[in-house]
């Protein structure tokens, strides 16, 4: 095949013939699953505040509880099925972050607890911490220099 001529042409052909994801269905699923996880978070926060916690602590309790629920669901093999159904609906909430910590930790258990579990645990979630914490430090420094 004459390669020089056909690269562009071929990529157009692939684009044309490739099946497309069902956008509408995907969006609806992501919406209701993601929304429901947030409602669950709101319920946990409200419960913690009803038990006398301040808002900050209740938020932390909410995070910890959702992370726990996600770790359990991942371990039981439920979260990957939820993810298959809901896509970003179960990726974007903090439960998705927890899933991306727990899944590689479980997966690499057979490579040992130090270089397997320990090292691989943040192979997917690490970038979130790098960019999240990194940019928060920069934001803090900017506030410091721009005169508090």
């Amino acid at each position: 095949m004459k390669q020089s001529r056909s690269v562009q042409e071929y990529l157009q052909l692939v684009e044309r013939l490739a099946p497309k994801s069902d956008m509408g269905k995907g969006l609806v699923r992501a919406f209701w699953v993601g929304g429901l996880i947030c409602v669950l978070g709101q319920a946990i926060t409200d419960l913690a505040m009803a038990l006398g916690m301040d808002r900050q602590s209740a938020g932390t309790v909410c995070s910890i509880a959702l992370v726990f629920a996600s770790a359990l669901a991942t371990g039981l093999g439920v979260y990957d099925q939820l993810g298959k159904y809901a896509g970003a609906g179960s990726i974007v909430p903090i439960t998705g972050f927890a899933n991306s910590v727990v899944a590689p930790a479980m997966e690499f258990k057979r490579e040992g607890y130090v270089m397997g579990v320990g090292a691989k645990m943040f192979s997917l979630a690490g970038p979130v911490l790098v960019y999240g914490i990194g940019s928060s430090v920069i934001v803090g420094l900017i506030y410091f220099f721009l005169g508090r």
Binding site: V33, G77, A88, R148
Partner: protein
Amino acid sequence: MWMYVKAFLVGGALCMIGEALLLRTQLTSSRILVGYVTAGVLLGALGVYAPIVEFAGAGATVPLTGFGYSLAKGAIEAVHEQGWLGAFTGGTASCAGGIAAAILFGYLASVIFTPRTKK
């Protein structure tokens, strides 16, 4: 009750935007998470995200943009209290609970459970 409706709508909308990005762009889920958390830090720093949190509660804090928001909020508050050192400690401190929980429960899950083949 109205709070739950707002949390559902805002949280669902944030997830739906993520799904649209997944389906329509070549972005992988890791990149989307990085984008969300960074966007949260930026919106938090600019003061745009706080009203959304006020409005939707967990609908805005549970998605990863909320993670970024609380990183930025923590860093800024700590700068007010401690000066430049706060920029380094404040963000992480505000999210320490979630991160530590992920490490602990992740470790425990890896000890207890074994991954199974998808069907």
